[in-house]
Amino acid sequence: MAERLEIGLRPELYDPAGRGLVAKARAYLGYGLERVRVLRVLTFDAGLSAEELERVRVEIFTNPVTEVSSFAPLAETVLPDFDLALWVGFRPGVRDNEGATALEAMSDVLGRSFGAGAAVYCSRLYLIKAPRLNTEQARELCAELLANPIVQSWRVIPRAEWDPAQGVGIVLPRVELKHVPTVLTLPVPGDLELNRLSAERNLFLNPADVPVIRAYFNDPAVRASRAAAGLAEPTDVELEYVSQARSDHCNHNTFNGRFFYKDMLSGESAEVDNLFKRCIKGPTEQLAAERGWVVSVLWDNAGVARLDEAHNYAITAETHNSPSNMEAYGGAITGIVGVYRDPMGTGLGSRLVAGLWGFCVGPRDYDGDLKPALHPRRLLDGIIEGVRDGGNKSGIPTALGLLNFDQRYLGKCLVFVGAVGVMPHTVAGAPSHLKKTSPGELIFMCGGRVGADGIHGVTASSAGYSENTPAGHVQIGDPYTQKKMHDFLLEARDRGLIPYITDNGGGGLSSSIGESCRYSPGAEVDLKKVPLKYDGLDPWQIWVSESQERMTVAVRPVDAEAFLRLADKHAVEATAIGRYTGDGKLKLTHGEKVCAYVDVEFLEKGFPQWEFEAHWLPPAARGLAEPVLAEAADLSGLLADLLDTPNLCSRAWINRQYDHEVQGTSLIKPFVGRHRDVPSEAAVMLPVLTGRAGLAMAQVLLTEYGDIDTYHMVAASVEEGFRRVVAVGGDPAQVGGVDNFCWPSIQYDPQGNPDGRYKAAQLVRACWALRDACLALGVPLLSGKDSMYVDGKLKGRHGLAQRVSGPPTMMFTATAPVPDLKRLQTLEPKLAGDLLYVLGQTRDELGGGSLYNLLGFTGANAPATEFEQSLKTCRALSAALDAGLAASACVVSRGGLGYALARMVMASGLGMELDLDRLPAPPGLTPLKKLFSESTGRLVVTVAPQCAAKFESLLEGVSWARMGRVKAGGRLLATAGGASVLDLKSGQMRKAFTRRFGGMI
């Protein structure tokens, strides 16, 4: 017997959720709703007595000041003249966070526990007064605004069909698999059979791997040892395990591949054996050896670098593209909550101190013919909200982020999420960045339970999006459960209870145990001991499920009791599911039944390297040329137009929803200036409150340069990241980087991917630039990830589907300690009368830049980065900040000098007067190009007149010019050849800057 409790705001109170729906229905669908009231619905399936029901209704679920509630329908109480009732609830098996906390609170209040099947389901009932809205339109409201069919179901009930006594009735989204868990034996007599099996089971095995897998299982020695364990042919558990571990997502087959690069114009060719080794690992190892501050890189869940004399920081970033593309909210919240587990599972565990985000989506106002899974506007809304709830409820400051629109992201959106943690150099007497498992230690799974959700996530993200992509891997993250686990694990770490910890992310237990048991080496796991959300899961599902909020921890048997006591205190589930052994075997059982028995190192050897042909054509040979532009008559108007473009205008509304100040660590926020809406160059935190060192973090995404040459794109990205962290006070000698590659498929296929060889060449050039930039600037790569299948197949007009490949994209994240907080600086000029300097050379480099983008050109002259020059400039600025000589420092980047100056004026409310003739630039560069060139390596700095001489004395070897002055009055004035060429008031700029998104909350 189940009961339904409805809870709503008192009818006389304003209902923001209802108003929100009215506004969205009008803005998104053009539907006029008169009134909306939202009811929270709790359906109890827990065998409560009438007395208990009334008690929880009053004591827990109803606020007597603001709410009314009833076990009978409330609709006619809160909105007597409603025309439609829309009910939206989760599908079976989807994580219901509110339902889970309801049960927890009921258990506490009633002082009793509930049986295994007991549950509370939370849903919403929308009561709508809209006399002219028909049922079909109401369904659209559900499908487009209120629910996503992948995770939610809905009902539309017109008033005429409303049952006043039963209301929406009782919906119980119980999972009933009615399935007896089984282990299948899958004989694979030939490669053909294994390939077929791979297709049937969505294993996405690479055909080249198939013979190797078969050879292992046919090896007589292997067969003999398997026979002793009671196994013969491979089991479904084993093949699923292989599929997970060999996926591109886990194994980085592309970056570890062999590339046959050829310049099709010059005929020159080069063979690159392994991009990762040559361009990432090699340079980073070299730099790490030279620099004492690189603590741990290239092997753990996050990279570790030194913050100060007592603490290290751990950083990583990844993407969560495929799930977000289908279920934006669920994908994004799972992404941010998931990446937080990486620093948590680095070394012996770190405390989370910052989150980062980056969204790449199609145009928000897209009205073309292509039909992406979710319209970019709705997609973006969902992503923003997902990161909001995931970040805020984790209690981790969401320090910084960026948003980039490009129509090519319609095929698949990109959702970058980054995480930073801190750890003392030593915990419980041991170095915190080291960890290993040893024979005899227990394997604990902590946090959430395992369900069928998240199965095949890893393999699905290793493929493009199509109608057949299994939707089962979309999940909804639970930051509350994870926050409790975070607190629990830190306390356990500090007590010395944790010799090894890692997260359960892609691949679930198969990945966390598969990797952790390489140290001991070996493990035995009883999958029957794994706590499940519901019965009926097959052992292979338990093994590869990506159910969220789980960590795998090694615990010495002697510490198990203390570990469990701590888990109880923190209300975290922790279960010993096996133990590490030393026999080199991974043995999985389900109760008594052996379901996998393989060598621990089986997945590490013998697999063929992936191979790619990479054909490059230089920009000119591809027909790219500079546009022919006369000098503009109205540069002011052009700058204002630029300020209004989607990629340069204010997007403060997003970070406003994100708590970027929790933990009390904020130093420089994501936005600066009087109106707190001008994006800052980098965020800075004080990760350890009792410490003295800040940590600067910056993000860069310069996708459009890649349309000309991905070499320039990546070189510029690394250099800009470097310059950004230095501009806020970071130490140029301690800059670390994180690379996140998101690329379309590069495997050539004459039909499916005819330009695959060019995309492969773009990847090779990008990696070469990464290597060159990191070595030249001294930036070791602390962490990095790749996501290789940013492609979508979208239906267009007349049912004509087309492939939409994302542009080659690399997000670069730079970090640097701020060794003394006196060095902190922001971009806005501080006082009228200060002198205005530009550091760095401006060249004719507008290709792929914001101005050309606005005008519809690509151009040919992408900014070419001169690392040595940039290094000198950044070191000079660093010295000036150290001496307190620079009163502001602004990075010149997208939108050129014009956009940098505009940001400085808008942020400060002060004006600036400058002479463009003085700009360090080759002769003949026009004012238009001076203002909008995107040459790298440049900074605008303001300096108090009395500090000018000292400041200039630091600029040896740097291109620089004193351009003019900061003025009172908020007006940006520039002259060239003695004539005024730019005259804009701060108000005019702000109007353009905020027109598009300024009103959004």
Partner: protein, 277 residues
Amino acid sequence: MSVRALVLAGYGLNCDYETAHALTLAGAEARRVHISDLTGTAQASPTETLDGYQILVFDGGFSWGDDHGAGVLLATRLRNHLGEQLRAFLARGGLVMGICNGFQALVNLGLLPMLDGRWERSVALMANECGNFQDRWVELLTEPASPCLFTRGLTRLDLPIRHGEGRFVAEATTLSVIESRGMVAVRYGDGKGKPARGRFPMNPNGSAGDIAGICDPTGRVFGLMPHPEGFYRLSQHPDYTLSREKARRRGGDLAPLAAGDGLTMFVNAVQAAKDAL
């Protein structure tokens, strides 16, 4: 004898570190104590009590994920397990401060406004009128006539708000009692020292009477939505680099770790506790 302050931790609370840090800077001996250690769990007995503490802080966060109303489930848990201790704590003159989620918990527990000593829910903090979570800095004006011990000596200050449910509501009669007894301790200002008069974003959530925080009639229990620990040091303020530059031009400096205005509330609490020792 030093003042001892207890800061709640666990179950999704997330401002415990910086709140304890601010209390330490204010001169208290501050401890972060897990809620389970106070209430016990199904398997374990309590290991901590409120005895020996003079200040109890309900800090910010998302206790129980804010499900079923912000602060509701925390209040339920404490009412069930800690009610008697809380009464004793108040009876012996203990100070209680609730910040953000802590304020929400206090009103759900009925510790605020505690009119005539009654523990009942008579005010509420609803979803922001603007419909979304907001992180922004606001101006706060203190009420000169308020008995609140935490705001002594303050007239106006900037603090960050970071919440989705901060809209203060109460029935007209309750509201007028709260107003007439000076229990409105802090209001949202318009940035120029005058009340925001409901205008967004100066009043960021639509609170009645621009109410940002209230105290009980004794002034010893205080709850507010803005975060005083969010401005315990100068370099947390968004205008820090500007203010510092101005100070430098005057031949001085502004040390980044020097006390921010928010710290005053903790200093006041410690002083009030000391006075009562």
